[in-house]
């Protein structure tokens, strides 16, 4: 029963929407009943039209995200432990973090073409900032006791980064991952809306051009579910990957 009460406001909103549209208080073509949008959403899966754009958006987001993690984690660790790297990179990433990277879409299209490459590059650029900064703050803030202890046992510098600094910074790095996965989906969709080609963002724009609100809305629902699913998966994995982590070191 509590669940029923909790979702009641949502149900009310949806019911009101359905009624307003069915009663033709608004143009049902522009504002279709929610039931018809739901049917269209199901239909997109049944006739298979959604799978290709869905796959394209997901793989672009994940590829850009993976590149950002692969570059951002080592760079952030380095910045956290090596003075010169910190001096050079920290201002660049701190200043760049709040800037809207999507403004670079036209430049990236020029450099990497209209198709997937420019989108994946833009996603990885945007995700790189949280990855680097979270890793850096994690690596910089850890207690020197662990480092002294490893050093006194003769651990080399490179080995130290991987075997001591990385595991100790894992919680902070994972915070960065949780930010970056959200950014990845957002940038994937925006770049698909702006520079066309394919994907869920493009499906939305195409539906908009044809005035097909049902499909545009169904695409929006799918995009939101993708974002939610990827974020949830990352969050679920946190407990499994960082099982040994009981709190902040």
């Amino acid at each position: 029963m509590p669940l029923l009460i909790r979702i009641a406001p949502v149900a009310l909103v949806l019911a009101a929407w359905e009624l307003v549209s069915r009663a033709a208080l608004v143009n049902p073509h522009v504002f279709p009943p929610v039931s018809e949008i739901a049917l269209r959403w199901v239909a997109l899966f049944v006739d298979g039209r959604i799978y290709l754009p869905l796959w394209e958006t997901v793989w672009r987001a994940l590829a850009g995200f993976a590149v950002a993690v692969a570059i951002g984690v080592p760079l952030g660790l380095l910045m956290g432990r090596v003075r010169a790297a910190e001096w050079f990179f920290e201002p660049l990433f701190s200043f760049g973090f709040p800037l809207p990277k999507i403004a670079l879409i036209p430049l990236y299209v020029h450099w990497f073409g209209l198709f997937s490459l420019s989108k994946v590059m833009l996603i990885s650029t945007d995700c790189l900032f949280p990855m680097v900064l979270f890793t850096y703050h994690g690596a910089r803030g850890l207690s020197p006791v662990y480092l002294w202890s490893a050093q006194s046992r003769g651990t080399g510098r490179v080995r130290m980064l991987w075997r001591v600094v990385l595991p100790l910074s894992a919680a902070s790095i994972y915070d960065g991952i949780q930010v970056a996965i959200v950014v990845a989906v957002l940038v994937a969709v925006v770049s698909e809306m702006v520079s066309g080609s394919t994907g869920l963002g493009q499906l939305m724009i195409r539906s908009y051009r044809f005035g097909d609100v049902r499909t545009a809305f169904a695409a929006l629902v799918t995009i939101s579910l993708v974002g939610y699913a990827l974020y949830s998966a990352v969050q679920w994995l946190r407990g499994r990957l960082l099982f040994w982590h009981t709190g902040d070191v």
Binding site: R6, P9, F95, P98, I102, L107, L186, S224
Partner: protein, 245 residues
Amino acid sequence: MRLLPLFIIVAAWQAASSAGWLPKALLPSFWEVASALGALVSSGEIFRHTASSFARAGAGFAIAVIGGIALGIVMARVKAVQRAVEPVLLLIYPVPKPALIPLFMIWLGIGDVSKVTVIALACLLPVVVASFNGARSVDDVLLWSARARGTSEHRLLWRVVLPAALPQIAAGVRTAIAIAIIVLVSSEFISAETGLGYLIFSYGGVGADDAMLAVVIWLGALGYLLDRLYLAGLRRAMSWHAFAH
């Protein structure tokens, strides 16, 4: 001194262009970008587009801040409002807000109304969440003490809950500034005839990379400046709070 790495990058960029290692077709030299920016400024063109971008982002942002603070605080203090609004907000939360742009263009037209609405909606959530959390965590002792002196519930919201929640609200508003710029640029990329996003997109479309990069840098500098101004203003306004130190 902290800016030195930035200067090194710019100097290396200019040097690579001058030496011919960086073909102009790939990236115009820093000098070309700077003179394009100079031309945009001296012709006044960039100010016109900055003004229309600012009007859009500012309107959406203002609606979100006023509405978001009010909604967040009322949600925190009135259980029924929280029960009614929270599930709806949770439903909207995972939606990447720029993806709403095409739908709102169908509903509200391709003009400014749809852009302002999406910006307001995107900025609303961080402000509501911050205000809600801030207002909910107000120290009960403050409330008891104000009530014991006969403060009305209405006045309590204004004079006790709002100031006590302000530090958290301020952080939410800062997030909203960054979101406003991102959604603004996305919406102007998708459809606009004025604005900085439009300017970037149209210069990019005709291959005028120097002017395009000039506007990108201008936009980045403005965003950075806004954030700094906001933080400086905050330090003054909240000198009573540890936040300022």
